[in-house]
Amino acid sequence: MSTAAEHLHHDEHHDHKPSGIKRWLYTTNHKDIGTLYLWFAFIMFLIGGAMAMVIRAELFQPGLQLVDPNFFNQMTTVHGLIMVFGAVMPAFTGLANWMVPLMIGAPDMALPRMNNWSFWILPFAFLILLSSLFLEGGGPNFGWTFYAPLSTTYSNDSTALFVFSVHIMGISSIMGAINVIVTIFNMRAPGMTWMKMPLFVWTWLITAFLLIAVMPVLAGAVTMVLTDKFFGTSFFDAAGGGDPVLFQHIFWFFGHPEVYIMILPAFGIISQIVPTFSRKPLFGYASMVYATASIALLSFIVWAHHMFTTGMPVAAELFFMFATMLISVPTGVKVFNWVATMWRGAITFEIPMLFSLAFIVLFTIGGFSGLMLAITPVDFQYHDTYFVVAHFHYVLVTGAVFSIMAAVYYWLPKWCGKMYDLGLAKWHFWCSLISVNVLFFPMHFVGLAGMPRRIPDYALQFADFNKWISIGGFAFGLSQLIFLALLIKACRKQGEAATDRVWEGAEGLEWEIPSPAPYHTFETPPVVK
């Protein structure tokens, strides 16, 4: 058996790898591709963050001072697109590439060459999207949700570039998802049964199914926008018999599962980290798996809660309201399970644990504001205000992004073989935690008071809060440069050597291999008892 396995991996068996750029261009190694994804996501995070800085600088004071409104709209649009498709999703894919094979005892991803391709088309997608900003008339300015007729009748010709870049992003994440599914189905080590899989693997498996179910619908939506704009079709044009509200139905049929695509892997990460630093097994493992699956299934029947103000009949509004509220049940199961895991545990507060605790508290705040938004009658007040902005930044920044940072701190010693710089890490965590709340918490207040989102100017009574929000924004942006410095240090192999297990309470196959993880691992599958 072992000789057969060695023979199978004969062509990848040599330890030395091509040097220089060719190593990264031609690589089919899951660790290399994971690293590429993670660095790409981090660069996109900084670019999208720079756009957020432009937005916050303009909103520092009432009135129009720094940028013209059209450019402001391009910034809100491209900031959203980059953070969703360029930062959060590739970061999770990178973590899946690095960790899923290690966690299930597989030598690599199931489809390594497709893996290479699914990463390397991504930079081109964002090159196309970002280059559209420099064209005459500017890039997309209709919001990341590209509602028709804004993206059809009223957009400029660079919309074609937007459409093609979304196509490429979609193809990339669909290929990534197929790879994850095939790997988990076919390459688990002997004895790694379904209900023994680490939760990060489970949540990613379910996320991958969501991806292959809804990314094609997004591809269809952008294709319809393309043909409506350039080829005279009338999918969303009322004059030709179409319906602009139909666009919102198709978009949010993709869009709501998409928000779970960006949070389910985060749940998986937190479910790995909390038991490690509580020195207790995860409370309610099976219920975590079922809760994740329930959230994924429910995500398909709640899309119209984004559309309460489109004039839906009351019966439909009630249905989508209650279905949405139902999601808080499995989500609550998860939060309570994490709390129960910590209950009477021997807790220590290493950086990954600090980020995880911040995640649990702050994500729950975002969950509660989501429940408020789900209540149809009050949503008419909150709709398209900064309250919505506060809500989705709590779940996506202090939720998804904090979980990614937690994951990086948790697994970085395994990747690089060196502990991260503890001083920098502490500065990064505390600066981020404080500034992110200065940034997003007051948005609840200005939103409830009626400040609309996506507008470069605002009424004078919002001036004080916006000043604080902008200060929080700049501070949060600068805090990420500490993270950059820390990552560069770690990649240069500076710092004290990490042990194989790294963390005292760590459990799982990824901690059985040496630190740093060798280029090839589990060529003979481990036996899981």
Partner: protein, 185 residues
């Protein structure tokens, strides 16, 4: 790909089939949406084809108020108004109302009127035997026209609806309209 277990290919084919199926489903949502709205009448779209009026009992016990709203889409320069803002009809009674439209510009324009009814369910019971919205309407530069609309309300109209609004929006479709329409003008 020789090193892969043999069943990878089968699984990949199944997953790709799901992807293609969901891509198709996205497009299938377009007709499904129309069918769903037709059946439930929830988006206030009226029948785009003329109904035929058969003489029937007029339910004089009920009086329905029908209001008319006219607007033009952004970029459509026509002046468009309803001669009667509202009419009272008994269910089953045939009624004609008139709209005036004027092209104040120096160019020929083809317009398309799109109706919408609120509350949406009333659309299922509004039968138009004649409407300017059934066809594209060409207007020469500076031309004016009176456009009639003839309708009756189905006596099956739910009892809780005593008043409904019919809105027309004129869109500029000059660029996409068939040349026949322009030549006729």
């Amino acid at each position: 790909m020789a090193q892969n277990p043999p069943n990878n290919g089968r699984l990949v084919i199944k997953l790709v089939a799901v992807v293609l199926g969901m891509f198709g489903f996205g497009f299938a949502l377009v007709p499904l949406y129309d069918v769903f709205c037709d059946v439930t009448g929830i988006n206030g779209k009226t029948n785009p084809f003329a109904a035929t009026y058969e003489v029937q009992d007029i339910d004089t016990s009920r009086t329905i108020t029908v209001e008319f709203i006219t607007r033009t889409n952004t970029g459509m320069p026509w002046e468009f108004a309803a001669r009667t803002r509202q009419v009272q009809v008994h269910p089953g009674e045939l009624k004609t109302v008139e709209f005036t439209v004027h092209n104040p510009t120096a160019k020929n324009i083809v317009g398309q009127a799109i109706p919408s009814v609120s509350p949406g369910t009333a659309a299922l019971y509004l039968n138009k035997t004649e409407c300017f919205c059934f066809n594209q309407q060409p207007l020469l530069a500076g031309e004016s026209a009176v456009m009639p609309m003839q309708f009756y309300v189905d006596p099956q109209l739910p009892a809780d609806i005593e008043i409904f609004t019919l809105s027309y929006t004129f869109y500029d479709v000059t660029e996409t309209s068939s040349t026949v329409a322009m030549n006729r003008g």
